[in-house]
Every structure is written in C-alpha cells, then in structure tokens.
C-alpha cells in the first residue's frame, strides 16, 4: 500500500493524483501539480518557507504527508491574488519593501493571512509572535512587520474595495493564480487596482 490515490483542492481547483506514502505535501504541490510558489527551505519544520493553508489553517507543508491531506482544501501563495488583483498582504509587502531575496515571502504571506483572519488588528508584538515560525535572512523583519500592519490597515479599512493608490503594476508569473488553469491567466496577467469609482 505504498501508492495512494488522493484528491487535493488547490486554490479552488480539484486535482486527483497518485502519491507514495512518503511523499510530502510540499513535493506533491511543487513537483506533481506545479505550484512552485511554495518554497522548500530548511525541510526541518523550522523556517516556514513551505507554509500553505490546509483547510484554512497555516501549516508547514514539509511536515505533512500528501496522503494526510487527501480530501483537503489547500491554499498556496498563487491563490492570494484575485483575478490579477493583488491581495492586501501582497500589496503590503510591495509597498513596505517586505522582501529582499523573496525566498521566505510566500510562507510569510500565508502565515500572515492566517494570523490576520484570527486577529484583524494585531499589534507589532502580536505580528512578530504570529510570524515566529517563519525565518527571513535578509530583511531583519522590520519591514515584514510593516507589511503586515499595512495589510491589516487595508483590510480593516476596506481600502481595496474603495480603490487603492497604485495605478498599475506590471504582472509576471507571480500573478498566475493557477498554473493549470490555462492561457487565460498564465500568458499575460496584468495586476492592477480598480480605478477610483470603478465598479467590480
């Protein structure tokens, strides 16, 4: 019974795949399904680069067997943007320069969104505690905390729905919410804020 047929719903798309018992969730996501936004860092449950949401909770996907996630909903960093529009946490990291090399960023953002869901208005101390399972070797964390604060303010104030200040951002692969969804989202994807007064 070393092979198992499992179903994963990743960023809203259902996938059926066959995995070995020992396949870790992060490898199923990256190597089998192509969701390479989730990074593999320390592989020892320490650095948090592999953080995804499993049924809504932030977990380290290097410390989970893919077969344990059978039937579950998995959300990865690729699912944060909504039809090419940045999630407030992504805008926060951009505006506050919350990344340098960017390796830790997908995990940081997935943990931060889990934190903000539970605590929409965290103090700086609570943000640091919330992100203690994510390591960054570049920024010194200051700007990451700023980025999460920025996102909390945006999400709390409803500023996204009201239109943001960034007129247009050139998009790359980062805006492809689902690598399996076809050309519509992957060939070219403009990330932009709605203009003032524009309806959804």
């Amino acid at each position: 019974m070393a092979e198992h047929d499992i179903t994963l719903t990743v960023n809203g798309t259902e996938h059926e795949l066959e995995v070995e018992s020992r396949t870790l969730l992060v490898h199923a996501l990256r190597d089998e399904l192509g969701y390479t936004g989730t990074n593999v860092g320390c592989e020892t449950s320490t650095c948090g680069a592999c953080t995804v949401h499993l049924d809504g909770d932030a977990v380290k996907s290097c410390t989970l067997l893919a077969v344990q996630a059978d039937g579950a909903t998995v959300d990865t960093v690729e699912g944060l943007a909504d039809h090419g529009e940045f999630h407030p946490i992504q805008t926060g990291f951009q505006e506050e320069h919350g990344l340098q090399c960017g390796y830790c960023t997908p995990g940081m953002m997935m943990t931060a969104t889990d934190l903000l869901e539970e605590n929409p208005d965290p103090s700086r101390e609570e943000i640091r505690e919330g992100l203690e399972g994510n390591l960054c070797r570049c920024t010194g964390y200051q700007n990451i905390v700023n980025a999460v604060e920025n996102a909390a303010e945006t999400m709390g104030s409803g500023a996204v729905a009201d239109g943001g200040s960034v007129e247009e951002l050139a998009g790359g692969d980062a805006c492809a919410s689902d690598p399996n969804a076809g050309a519509e989202t992957t060939d070219r994807c403009e990330v932009r804020w709605p203009d003032e007064g524009e309806s959804e």
Binding site: A2, S21, R22, A58, T63, G133
Partner: protein
C-alpha cells in the same frame, strides 16, 4: 529529505487503530498524530517505521469537554483547538499557558496534545503541565481502557506506560478550580524546544499559598515534579522573598549526574536555568494572583 518507504493506514476509530496495531505487531509500527515530531525524525533517518497508522482523523479522539470537575482533552486535539476553548483556559490554565508558548503558529495548528505526551521527548512542553495538573492519561488497548496518573506515565526518554498495542485516547485534568497556571521556558534558539521549562499551578487563600505544584521539562530524561520548591512555598505569603527562597531548592531532589547534558546546555547550566525559570514561573503566578485580586 525523504522518509524511507513505509505502508500507510488511516484508522477511522480507536478500535480500528488497536486492530491495526495488533495486525502489524511483528513490524516496526508508529502511530501518526500531528506528525511534528515523527515526520522530522523519519526525514532525518532517526526513525524508519515499516508501517504508519494515522489516527489524526479519528473523531472520537478530538475535542475538549467538561464533565463535572474534570476537563477532558481528546488525544488528537490540536494545540490551536485547545487555545480556542474557553473551558480549557478556565479549568487547565497550566496546560494552556504552556501551549501558548509551544512551537509556533503553524506547529500549533497541526500538533496534538496526545502526540506530544505519547512521544515523551524530554524537551516536550506538556509533561510538566500534566504533572502539576495531576492529570490522568487514559490509554486504550485490546482489553479496553485503563487510566494512568501522569506521575506514573513517563518512564524516561521517549518512553511511557503505553503498551505495544495501545494508544493514548484522552487526558483528564481535574479542574484547577481558580488556581493560577503559568509556564516559564528557556527555548533553544534553534528548535524552540525548552532547554528548561517550568510549569506552576498556584492556589492562594488570601495572601498565603494554600497549594502549589511545580514541575520541570527539559532537565531530566522526563518531566519531574519539584517537590522541595512546593514544600518551601506552601503556607508562605506569595511574594518575591518566598519565591526566591523556594526556587533555590529547585534542583535539590535532582541528581545533576543524570541531568540532560548536550551541546545546547551543560547539566550545570541547566541546574542554574532551572532555578531562574522556577522563579520566573512563580513570579508570573504571583503577578496574576495580584492582578486578579485587584480586579475583584
């Protein structure tokens, strides 16, 4: 890093888990809970079981409930689920104080109370709270359930009273009944596991300590009560002088030759940390008692 190959079975009930344990008795078999101790050990090759029996999805092993004066925590209840439960904070404050400091957010979303206690890592955070809470660990095997007091559950490093075809099904904690629970820990900067972690449960009558239980993780090969500290503090006025005096007895009953001694901390350093963190756990309790008295 990949684990060696193994067969994976998902149990849907306690009895199915016991059946699977018996069916695979001749193979190296491990129960899989949250996996946050087992999977890292398997990835690094420290553990290579032939068979994994996943019990994390067994409904009857999950959840927190109150029955009379007893709080019952299902073995597969995740740390985050305990922290979300008001009754757990009220009745088992020593347990929740330790869980708040355990691992990190992602680990607490996945790791389980029963997995922690069954694994019995000397540096686990939960044996101390189980000891000060006078918890009973309920184990299920082919002959049904049996109850083991926390004092008799931990045998040593990774060794407990759980038999080969048994599993821990729940932890029963008598209500703290208003006592204050605290946890003070010196985490390893790398792993977050405690080099020393001290759990305290303090009940007061006016200014005097009517009962106190203190236990330490990370110091010996399993969690230990610090009875000399408890004896020194019982009946005293809960304040800095009494706490400092009591904490000075923290290592009195412990044989330094048997203390944990590794690259992170020598036994002598652990003995020093033990006194300091015993003091901090008790000072935290004192502050909470004062704060709740001021609020009344």
């Amino acid at each position: 890093m990949f684990p060696d190959e193994f067969d994976y079975h998902e149990a849907e009930s306690v009895s199915e888990a016991v059946d699977l344990l018996e069916a695979h008795a001749m193979e190296e078999t491990e129960l899989l809970a949250g996996g946050h101790s087992l999977l890292p050990a398997m990835k690094t090759g420290l553990s290579s079981p032939d068979v994994l029996i996943d019990i994390s999805g067994v409904d009857e092993l999950r959840g927190v409930s109150v029955d009379g004066d007893t709080l019952s925590v299902g073995a597969m209840t995740r740390y985050s689920e305990v922290l979300d439960d008001d009754a757990a904070h009220e009745h088992a404050p020593a347990l929740t104080a330790a869980i708040e400091q355990l691992g990190d957010r992602q680990v607490r979303n996945r790791g389980t109370v029963g997995g922690n206690l069954s694994h019995a890592d000397p540096a686990s955070d939960l044996p101390g709270p189980a000891l000060v809470s006078d918890a009973t660990l309920v184990v299920h095997g082919p002959d049904g359930e049996r109850s083991v007091p926390a004092e008799e559950f931990f045998f040593g490093m990774y060794a407990t009273d759980i038999g080969p075809s048994e599993l821990l099904v729940r932890v029963e904690l008598p209500s703290a009944d208003g006592a204050v629970g605290t946890y003070a820990k010196k985490p390893s900067p790398a792993s977050g596991y405690p080099m020393v972690g001290v759990s305290a449960l303090v009940a007061t009558d006016g200014d005097a300590v009517s009962s106190v239980r203190v236990a330490a993780n990370g110091v010996m090969d399993h969690g230990v009560r610090l009875e000399p500290v408890e004896d020194a503090l019982t009946g005293e006025t809960l304040g800095d002088d009494a706490i400092e005096a009591a904490a000075s007895y923290a290592a009195d009953d412990l044989d330094e030759a048997m203390m944990m001694d590794d690259l992170q901390a020598s036994a002598a350093f652990r003995a020093q940390l033990l006194e300091v963190y015993t003091k901090r756990a008790l000072q935290d309790a004192s502050e909470r008692v004062s704060a709740s008295a001021a609020a009344d």
